[in-house]
């Protein structure tokens, strides 16, 4: 008897969903405008509507049936987190091995894609320090990326400094800008902080666009020097002082690409190592405590100001490194590369990966950047697939791909902390 009542309820529910779908799609799908002899004419498409409504009906029914017949031992969030932790133990070394050996079997296209993905992995790991650990929602991270890129480009062009000299300088300058952004927003939390950081990112871009005498404005800076390997250049002509000449091989463009690939891999791993290390130190623990409860931090004698500023500075520093790499890889930069879309993409990577999870960020960057590249052929459907994937993610795993938190220290054995206990940060 309850089963029959259940079926009736499910059928009614599905019928109502279909009715809503009919209302929504009736005009949008059911009517098509075509160019007629004198004006636009409406062509009705009842079959398309019927298919759409039928799909909604069947889908809703299937969902309800699945819910009712789901096995009793459905995995709890805690077990899922533990399973994710287990998988992570094998997945991370596997990904690292894959990344290290990619140049051995990947062609030029795959290496370029790898460089792109790794740049975003590095940006994601840098932003994780600010958003994931310290819980400070930063929508203007691209500003530090831009500062790093322009620092390298301008230092190289004006003073003739090389990439490896400029890399730490670019990081340092970006960190300074991180502190400069940090000061005015110290008292802001949540949405307000997000808006101010968003504005900061735009200010940097607009200054770069309009300060023509320094940055060459919208025309950008071109012929930025390429990085060298211990002073050896990767020039196409070969000749003395080039890598090809030194090792006695034919000059080839792929040598430089492989070199760039390993540079960004090294930089990304450095970011990862530093942030993993910081998490286990008092500074990193103070960041996480700040995300959990700022008031309690103050009551325990933690200087909230310096703690926040270090989070901004260190996060920005890695953004600056990534920016310098971007400049040397492209050999050309313009303000167009540093739009809000970049900030949003990096933030989406961090959020989808799971706040504070290193492996999650790497996976999310791989899926979002790599996936978007692979779907390039589908052109107009790309954004549709992307949006659907985001919605599905937020329904199935609202706290990101890898959502648990690993304790930084343990008396006995450390267990994964389920995401519903971990705060997301409100400032």
């Amino acid at each position: 008897m309850p089963a029959r009542a259940g079926v009736a309820v499910a059928l009614r529910d599905a019928f109502l969903s279909a009715l809503v779908a009919l209302g929504l799609f009736g005009a949008m799908i059911g009517l098509k405008t075509d160019v007629g002899p004198s004006s636009l004419v409406l062509t009705p498409r009842p079959w398309a509507v019927a298919i759409a409504v039928g799909a909604v009906f069947a889908g809703r029914l299937a969902l309800l049936v699945w819910r009712a017949w789901r096995p009793a031992g459905a995995p709890s969030p805690r077990r899922l987190a533990a399973a994710g932790h287990q998988a992570g133990r094998y997945l991370a070394p596997l990904l690292l091995t894959f990344a290290l050996t990619l140049p051995a079997y990947g062609g030029r296209y795959w290496l370029d894609l790898g460089i792109l993905v790794l740049t975003y992995v590095m940006l994601g790991w840098g932003l994780t320090i600010v958003v994931g650990l310290a819980g400070l929602l930063d929508l203007g991270y691209v500003a530090f990326y831009a500062v790093g890129a322009y620092s390298y480009a301008l230092l190289a062009q004006t003073f003739g400094l090389g990439f490896w000299t400029c890399l730490p300088l670019a990081g340092l300058l970006a960190a300074c800008w991180g502190v400069m952004l940090g000061f005015p927003v110290l008292r802001l939390r949540g949405d307000y902080l997000a808006i101010v950081t968003l504005a900061f990112g735009e200010i940097i871009r607009i200054v770069l666009l309009n300060w023509v005498s320094l940055t060459n404005g919208p025309n950008g800076i071109s012929s930025i020097p390429r990085p060298t390997l211990f002073g050896l250049t990767f020039s196409m002509e070969g000749g003395p002082g080039s890598v090809a000449d030194f090792f006695g091989v034919e000059p080839d463009i792929s040598q430089r690409v492989i070199f760039l690939y390993y540079v960004i891999l090294g930089l990304a791993l450095l970011t990862n190592w530093v942030s993993l290390r910081l998490r286990r130190l008092p500074l990193g623990r103070a960041w996480e405590a700040l995300r959990e409860d700022e008031v309690a931090c103050r009551a325990l004698g933690i200087n909230v100001t310096t703690t926040k500023l270090t989070a901004f500075a260190i996060g920005a520093c890695f953004g600056g490194f990534a920016g310098a790499f971007f400049a040397t890889r492209q050999a050309f930069i313009s303000p167009e590369s540093f739009t809000f879309m970049e900030s949003a993409t990096v933030l989406a990577i961090v959020v989808l990966g799971g706040l504070g999870s290193q492996l999650g960020v790497a996976l999310a960057a791989l899926v979002m950047i790599g996936g978007a590249e692979l779907f390039r052929d589908f052109a107009e459907y790309r954004m549709l697939v992307f949006g659907a994937a985001l919605v599905a993610m937020m329904i199935l795993r609202p706290r990101g791909l890898v959502s648990g938190r690993t304790p930084s220290v343990a008396l006995g054995t450390a267990q994964e902390i389920s995401a519903d206990l971990v705060a997301q940060g409100r400032g």
């Binding site: 008092p282 309690a296 931090c297 103050r298 220290v409």
Partner: protein, 275 residues
């Protein structure tokens, strides 16, 4: 009689037209448990927020002796320096633990300033320099000592947010103790505890006051509504009503004070005669 530790003089706190605390004077003596009681809205928590730097008092002074015979003026110090230099620790009426961090991590965050004298040192530790490993071992030992004291050692690796309510209260108190305070300010520590837990709390607070196991004793300032706990453990009670002090003395004196009875039961003639 013990010497005064915390001296509050003419403390007033006004929010716009509302006077929450009005020219309040009291002392908290070293080595004693001082309770601040009063009906709801009497200004007790406001006094606490002034002492611990969360509010800046409108007028008045709050003095605390520090090492080397200096007297620190708490009313002019920012919150984090009150905990760091004056060593005044506090807990909150609504528990404020770091819920997503483990019990042990909560206690290590409390020892932040001991572990990290400066940001530069903190960054050096990234490369394993600066004697950090030794400091952290000592911090874990101190955390273990306090966990043993409240019977939470077995749950050290559980997230703080997953502990039962009573255990969260105890954890918040020992987290405050991890900054090695000279004065511990507790805002309603017995709220929501069952009678057995209240008894355990009383024992814990006495132990904190007297010091044990190599830890020096720590004076306690306490806001509490549970009169059983207050009368049992307090050495000294200050009674507030509408922001003013109406009584001040030992538990026996305060209990007999007609002004206190009036404040708690209302100033009705019949009530007063019945009492």
């Amino acid at each position: 009689m013990a010497e005064p530790l915390l001296e509050v003089r003419d403390l007033s706190m006004r929010f716009g037209g509302l006077t929450a605390v009005d020219t309040l004077c009291f002392d908290a003596r070293a080595g004693e448990i001082t309770a601040v009681i009063g009906p709801n809205g009497a200004g007790k928590t406001t006094v606490f927020n002034c002492i611990t730097g969360f509010y800046r008092p409108t007028t008045g002074s709050i003095a605390l002796p520090a090492a080397g015979g200096v007297r620190l003026a708490l009313e002019r110090m920012p919150g984090h320096r009150i905990a760091r230099q004056a060593r005044v620790a506090r807990t909150f009426q609504n528990i404020r633990l770091f819920a997503g961090m483990t019990v042990l991590e909560n206690l290590l965050v409390a020892q932040h300033n001991r572990l990290m004298p400066s940001v530069a040192n903190g960054l050096l530790a990234v490369f394993g320099l600066g004697g950090h490993a030794r400091a952290e071992r000592a911090a874990i030992e101190r955390a273990r000592f306090w966990l043993d004291a409240v019977g939470l050692t077995a749950r050290a690796d559980d997230p703080a947010g997953a502990l039962p309510y009573g255990a969260q209260r105890r954890l918040e108190i020992v987290r405050a103790m991890c900054i090695s305070p000279v004065l511990l300010c507790l805002d309603e520590p017995a709220a929501g505890l069952n009678p057995r837990e209240s008894d355990e709390l009383s024992a814990l607070l006495r132990r904190i006051r007297d010091g044990a196991g190599g830890e020096p004793g720590c004076s306690i300032l306490l806001i509490e509504h549970d009169m059983g706990v207050v009368m049992r453990i307090s050495d000294h009670i200050v009674v507030l009503d509408h922001g003013r002090k109406i009584s001040d003395g030992s538990p026996a004196e305060v209990r007999a004070d007609p002004a206190v009875i009036a404040a708690y039961l209302g100033e009705d003639e019949t009530t007063e005669s019945a009492a």
